[in-house]
């Protein structure tokens, strides 16, 4: 089945073309700016070129269409001259009735609409100079960047191809036909197409590099692709270098933050909390700055925020939000980090899951590795599976695995500078962790992230205090607290400021020694289905500022002692479906600024004491209690009550 050239180009683009055309045809005689944005290689320019060739569009603008490529280093003055000349021409040739040729375009006017296409725009500042505010002049801006809506009247974000379109585009470039030719290994082709992640450019480039090659070459290419290595030169220059343009345009700090993203496994959501943590430890930035960088990367289509509705909120918990990245971009990050020799790389990253430490790393194992960030992705690891490696400079260690047993490598001891340790298990079952005592040597460790592991009970004398640990996050973990009385968390974590326990399925109560960790500022016990109560000494956590206990369905009351928490600013009890009331003691929390209590059907009334909460600014609640809170608005000036509509999705189905 042969397709003619036009059709191939347009594969999977019909809908996008139609949408953009609708935006172009808006009957608006003032100036009108439309943006088309998307990740590099997603077919933006192709789409816009198709639009310019479209018969309807050409007749609508009577062929008065100017197509300009702006690029990263444009000669703005020259471009302006060309646009000005184009507009002047239109005015003369068109049926304009206003004669005087002013120097100010403000006086210009075209009766017939004209279209200016600005392709490959990179900065807002350049764009602003190229938009001519002339009535009747429509500007179509093509960019990898999402420009703010103050500039754009309408915008269209490129979609990736549908799966069948991806196969047909690939087959066209690789075989010159729209489907997999008979006799070819269908699985192999599908796996290669899968690696391109529905990105048109990747499909075209990779398809073209494999054209007319023997099948053996294909399987070799597949392997290289899965290690984020280029197949051949054309792949490297055409795809990676073109994608790389986006990166080169970033500032040095943002660029290195982007490259850090390659440390996370492919196709997995990256918890925002982990990402920000890694960035703050590696680049000496604070959380706010980290968030700004995240925003920049997202606006340049270099990553996607999942569940972004709540991100950026001052009190929102980052661990419920995650980011994901297109695989081609991840490959690019790994490719760019892997240009140097293994021992000299700043980022030592395993591009995909392997059974053990990569061969490549073994070669110079006797010499120290100078990496600052190390990421390992394996299956089960036993003691002898690890190499003895030396990492004098490592600050961040990310251990991803997929197993039910995991032995922490001894080389962690040789990481004197380690500041953040991330341990994530991706298998369906909780994994047992061995050799946990290795952490005792890490005096600089500031943050720990454990996901889906069971933490064994440690013999009492082997527990060495983690003197510098500030942040401890335990997700989907099983924690053995049998001999709780022996455990003194305040001795173990003398400087802990943030503790998060999420989806800890078996935990029925917290160890009471937690209340002696007086440095604690933020405590999140969330999505814990068995949690029945908070410890009764809760009032000892005098410096607590943030308390989240949402989605703990067995929790019936807030603990005694809440009234002592005079610095508490934020409390979230959402989805505690059995919580009967906000305690009367809440009146003691004089600094309380925000209360979130969505989906608490048992709470029908408010404690009288809330009328004394002078600092309260925001309450998020259900409709049922909102009337009580609205009454409070009279007594508490500055209070704003929000009833949040729930939104439902199915993202949670895919784990």
């Amino acid at each position: 089945m042969e397709m003619d050239e036009d059709e191939i180009v347009k594969v999977g683009m019909e809908l996008g073309i139609k949408k953009v055309k609708d935006m172009v045809f808006v009957d608006e005689m003032c100036h009108w700016v439309i943006g088309v944005n998307g990740i590099g290689g997603s077919g933006k320019t192709t789409l816009v070129r198709e639009i310019c060739r479209d018969d309807e569009v050409r007749s609508y603008f009577s062929n008065r269409i100017l197509f300009l490529t702006v690029s990263q280093s444009p000669n703005v003055e020259q471009l302006r001259r060309r646009i000005r000349g184009f507009l002047a021409d239109c005015e003369m040739n068109g049926c304009s009735d206003i004669a005087p040729k002013g120097t100010e375009y403000g006086n210009w006017k075209t009766d017939m609409p004209v279209l200016v296409v600005l392709d490959d725009v990179w900065s807002l500042q350049v764009l602003q100079q190229l938009i001519f505010k002339v009535p009747g002049c429509k500007t179509l801006v093509v960019s990898r960047v999402k420009f703010p809506s103050s500039i754009l009247n309408a915008s269209y974000e490129m979609d990736l191809l549908a799966e069948e379109d991806a196969v047909s585009l690939f087959c066209h470039t690789a075989f010159g036909r729209s489907s997999i030719p008979p006799g070819w290994d269908e699985d192999l082709i599908k796996q290669i197409v899968e690696k391109c992640k529905r990105l048109p450019l990747a499909l075209k480039v990779i398809g073209a590099s494999l054209r007319d090659q023997p099948e053996k070459y294909w399987s070799g290419a597949k392997k290289r692709l899965s290690r984020a290595q280029p197949i051949n030169d054309s792949h490297e220059t055409e795809l990676l270098n073109r994608m790389r343009l986006s990166i080169d345009y970033l500032s040095e700090k943002v660029k290195s933050c982007f490259l850090d993203l390659g440390s996370f496994p492919e196709d997995k959501k990256i918890p925002l909390d982990v990402l920000i943590n890694v960035w703050t430890e590696l680049h000496d930035i604070d959380e706010e700055e980290g968030y700004a960088i995240l925003d920049e990367l997202s606006s340049k289509n270099l990553l996607t925020l999942v569940k972004d509705s709540r991100a950026g909120d001052k009190y929102s918990s980052y661990y419920e939000i995650s980011v994901c990245q297109h695989d081609v971009l991840r490959d690019l990050a790994i490719y760019m980090s892997s240009l140097e020799r293994v021992n000299h790389r700043k980022r030592l990253v395993m591009a995909r899951r392997e059974n053990g430490v990569p061969k490549e790393w073994e070669r110079d194992v006797d010499q120290p590795f100078l990496a600052r960030i190390v990421s390992v992705h394996t299956g089960e690891m036993r003691e002898m599976d690890w190499l003895n490696m030396d990492f004098p400079k490592v600050e961040v260690l990310i251990l991803n695995f997929d197993a039910t047993d995991y032995f922490l490598p001894h080389f962690i001891e040789n990481m004197p500078k380690l500041r953040a340790l991330v341990l994530i298990n991706y298998s369906a079952k909780t994994a047992k962790i061995h050799n946990l005592s290795v952490l005792g040597k890490l005096t600089n460790l500031r943050s720990l992230w454990f996901e889906k592991v069971s933490i064994p009970q440690l013999p009492k004398d082997t527990i060495v205090p983690l003197t510098n640990l500030r942040k401890l996050s335990l997700l989907l973990c099983t924690i053995n607290l049998k001999d709780e009385s022996e455990l003194d968390l305040s001795r173990l974590f003398p400087r802990l400021t943030e503790l998060a326990m999420d989806h800890c399925i078996e935990m029925t109560m917290l160890p009471s020694s937690l209340c002696r960790v007086k440095t604690l500022k933020s405590l999140s016990i969330t999505n814990c289905e068995s949690l029945e109560e908070l410890p009764c000494d809760f009032g000892m956590l005098l410096f607590l500022q943030i308390l989240r206990v949402y989605a703990c369905p067995k929790l019936k009351t807030l603990p005694i002692g809440v009234k002592n928490l005079i610095w508490l600013e934020h409390i979230d009890v959402s989805q505690c479906v059995n919580l009967h009331c906000l305690s009367e003691e809440i009146g003691g929390c004089l600094s309380l600024k925000e209360i979130v209590m969505r989906e608490c059907p048992q709470i029908k009334n408010l404690p009288k004491a809330v009328s004394g909460l002078r600092s309260l600014r925001r309450v998020i609640c259900d409709e049922e209690v909102s009337c009580h809170w609205k009454e409070m608005e009279k007594e508490l000036p500055g209070l704003c009550v929000q009833v949040v509509e729930q939104c439902f999705d199915l993202d949670w189905l895919i784990e």
Partner: protein
């Protein structure tokens, strides 16, 4: 229409119809001259049946004041619509003595003949009666309403009582409410009359007083010219004793928030009348409070005399209607003015009474009008939680397609720490909470009486149950509750599911019968018996016991249970009434079958040890 109908306006409206006066006329005549205990008359196409208030109470004393269930034992299934198969504490009960009086009349040939005629003619009927006759009228109405229930467009049955004692308990009141019969009953109660309040108190300590009182009342009622003070009278002291005794219990009832088990509760509309007007109230709580407030303002002698004053009240109410001027009617169009008028109407000359009565009427209104609003609110709530159920459906579909071939029951039961499964658990809890709340509101009469018969709710609850209950069962067995409390079906099943079962059984199955006979061509989307998995679990534990049990008698019992289950499950599967998750390769059910197959292979060995077990299976 404004909800004024509960108050003074309805009272006035009733006064304007001839029914009130006509029925009282016949009541008065029945008191004097009903040889069979009742009289029948027809006025303007309406049949009036009046029961005499003068009834022989001989031999009934031990029964009066005691409640008996309307379960069919005493009444031979005459009130099918009121019977419920709920637990004992919820059963509908009426006063044993009053029921006996009704049955005595009911079984007379005269009454049977008359009722046969009435049923044949299908004309409107008014049952009425003064004093005890009122109670009999009420029971007759309930009987006829029950009888007419199966008829598509039954003629109307109205009941007017005058100073009638209460007849039944709270479940009776609720059942009448649910059948939407409350509007068929209008109980006239004069301000001070002791009779309607009498059964709030236990009768045993005051039997002698009561006997004297009733005899004296009967003499007066029976005398053609209504001559007072005939026969032996109570002394002033005895009157005061009686009054204080009854008042004490009326007050206690009005004060307590909970309904005490085995106590009498009013139902229908109560029209409180005084010489200046009348007020209608239909909310149970408000009725009890009004019964108390008005009674408390009376005196011992007025409490006894007022029982004989209905003639005057009926006359006043109908006259009042004629005398009302236009502007007064306009004035009462606002709610506040209406409450004021209404409270004045019953509390003439006692200004201190106006305020509490006003409050009471206001409460009655506030509680009164909400059922439809509540129901609308719940409909919105249902649409809000619908996505939670849809998400569980997606979860089920995902598990059905998953490679581990567990099906959603076992996936959820075997879950470990997982965000997805936790989300499902939260949905489960939120849905359960919603439905519990629905049932709670229904039982507190905050919803329309026929709420549980509305298709929307019957089907919504059924589809909720079929999809979600398996997960509740899974959670029960996952958490090990069955080891602590016993098996789910007997000890763990949430009450809401049993109620939904009942709704489903009692639904209007008009036009649906044929679908039952239609056989399925493919497996159901959800298993049609929501307790299927609970039965599987019980069978699994039977099989476990079989493995280690040695006592032949116990073993035989276990095998009988297992075989019963197998037969049931096979039937479900053959009729394709199970969803595919039941037949997933690694589901509990399939593993159970495999287990059983293996055990049966070894059975000769077992039975060798235990001769006599399962002869038919083992012996060649």
């Amino acid at each position: 229409m404004v909800r004024f109908e509960t108050s003074e306006m309805l009272a006035r409206f009733l006064g304007s119809t001839p029914m009130l006066t006509e029925s009282w006329k016949l009541c008065a005549r029945a008191n004097v001259m009903a040889s069979q205990g009742f009289l029948i008359d027809e006025v303007g196409g309406v049949t009036y049946v009046a029961f005499s208030g003068v009834q022989s109470l001989d031999g009934l004393e031990p029964c009066c004041g005691n409640l008996v269930p309307l379960s069919g034992v005493y009444d031979r299934g005459m009130f099918p619509a009121l019977q419920s198969d709920d637990k004992i504490e919820n059963s509908v009960m009426v006063d044993a003595g009053l029921l006996q009086l009704f049955l005595n009349i009911y079984h007379t040939p005269v009454f049977q003949n008359q009722m046969f005629e009435i049923k044949k003619k299908q004309k409107p009927v008014v049952f009425t009666g003064h004093s005890i006759g009122g109670a009999i009228a009420a029971l007759s109405s309930l009987w006829l309403l029950s009888y007419y229930q199966s008829i598509s467009s039954p003629p109307s049955v109205i009941c007017f009582t005058y100073g009638s004692p209460l007849i039944g308990n709270e479940p009776l009141s609720r059942a009448i409410h649910r059948q939407r019969w409350g509007g068929n009953f209008c109980h006239l109660v004069s301000k001070f009359d002791i009779m309607p309040r009498l059964l709030f108190a236990p009768l045993a300590p005051i039997t002698t007083h009561l006997n004297t009182l009733l005899k004296s009342w009967h003499l007066t009622m029976n005398s053609p010219f209504f001559i007072r003070d005939l026969g032996v009278q109570l002394t002033e002291h005895e009157k005061a004793e009686l009054f204080r005794f009854v008042l004490h219990y009326v007050e206690a009832t009005a004060r307590s928030l909970e309904v005490v088990a085995n106590s009498f509760v009013p139902f229908g509309n109560f029209m409180f009348c005084s010489s200046d007007g009348a007020v209608c109230v239909d909310d149970t709580v408000a009725i009890v409070r009004m019964l108390h407030l008005t009674f408390a303002s009376g005196s011992p002698s007025s409490s006894i005399d007022d029982h004989l004053e209905y003639e005057g009240y009926v006359e006043k109410i109908s006259l009042q209607f004629l005398n009302r001027t236009e502007d007064e009617l306009c004035e009462s169009n606002t709610y506040e003015a209406g409450v004021t008028l209404a409270s004045q109407a019953v509390s003439t000359g006692q200004d201190h009474m106006v305020r509490p009565i006003k409050d009471c009427l206001r409460v009655a209104r506030r509680i009164g009008p909400t059922p439809n609003l509540n129901s609308a609110g719940l409909a919105i709530g249902l649409s809000k939680i619908a996505p939670l159920r849809a998400q569980i459906e997606w979860y089920k579909a995902l598990c059905d397609e998953s490679d581990d071939q567990l099906g959603y029951y076992d996936s959820f039961k075997l879950r470990s720490a997982s965000k997805r499964d936790f989300k499902v658990l939260m949905n489960l809890l939120k849905l359960g909470e919603f439905w519990n709340n629905v049932i709670d509101m229904l039982e507190k009469n905050q919803l329309p009486h026929d709420f549980h018969k509305r298709a929307k709710w019957v089907y919504a609850s059924q589809s909720y149950k079929l999809l979600v209950e398996p997960l509740d069962i899974a959670e029960y067995y996952r958490s090990g509750d069955h080891r602590k409390k016993g098996h789910y079906l007997k000890h763990g099943r949430a009450r809401r599911y049993e109620i939904f079962d009942k709704w489903w059984r009692e639904r209007d199955i008009y036009g649906e019968n044929d679908s039952n006979s239609k056989s399925r061509s493919k497996y159901a989307s959800v298993t049609q018996d929501s307790c299927f998995w609970a039965k599987v679990e019980e069978a699994v534990s039977c099989v476990e016991s079989v493995k280690c049990e040695r006592d032949p008698r116990v073993l035989a019992g276990l095998w009988a249970d297992i075989e019963k289950f197998e037969q049931y499950a096979r039937g479900m599967v053959e009729r394709k009434e199970v969803s595919i998750d039941v037949l997933a390769k690694n589901s509990s059910y399939m593993r159970l079958l495999e287990d059983l197959r293996v055990i049966r292979l070894q059975l000769p060995y077992f039975s060798h040890q235990i001769p006599g077990v399962l002869d038919r299976k083992v012996l060649p």
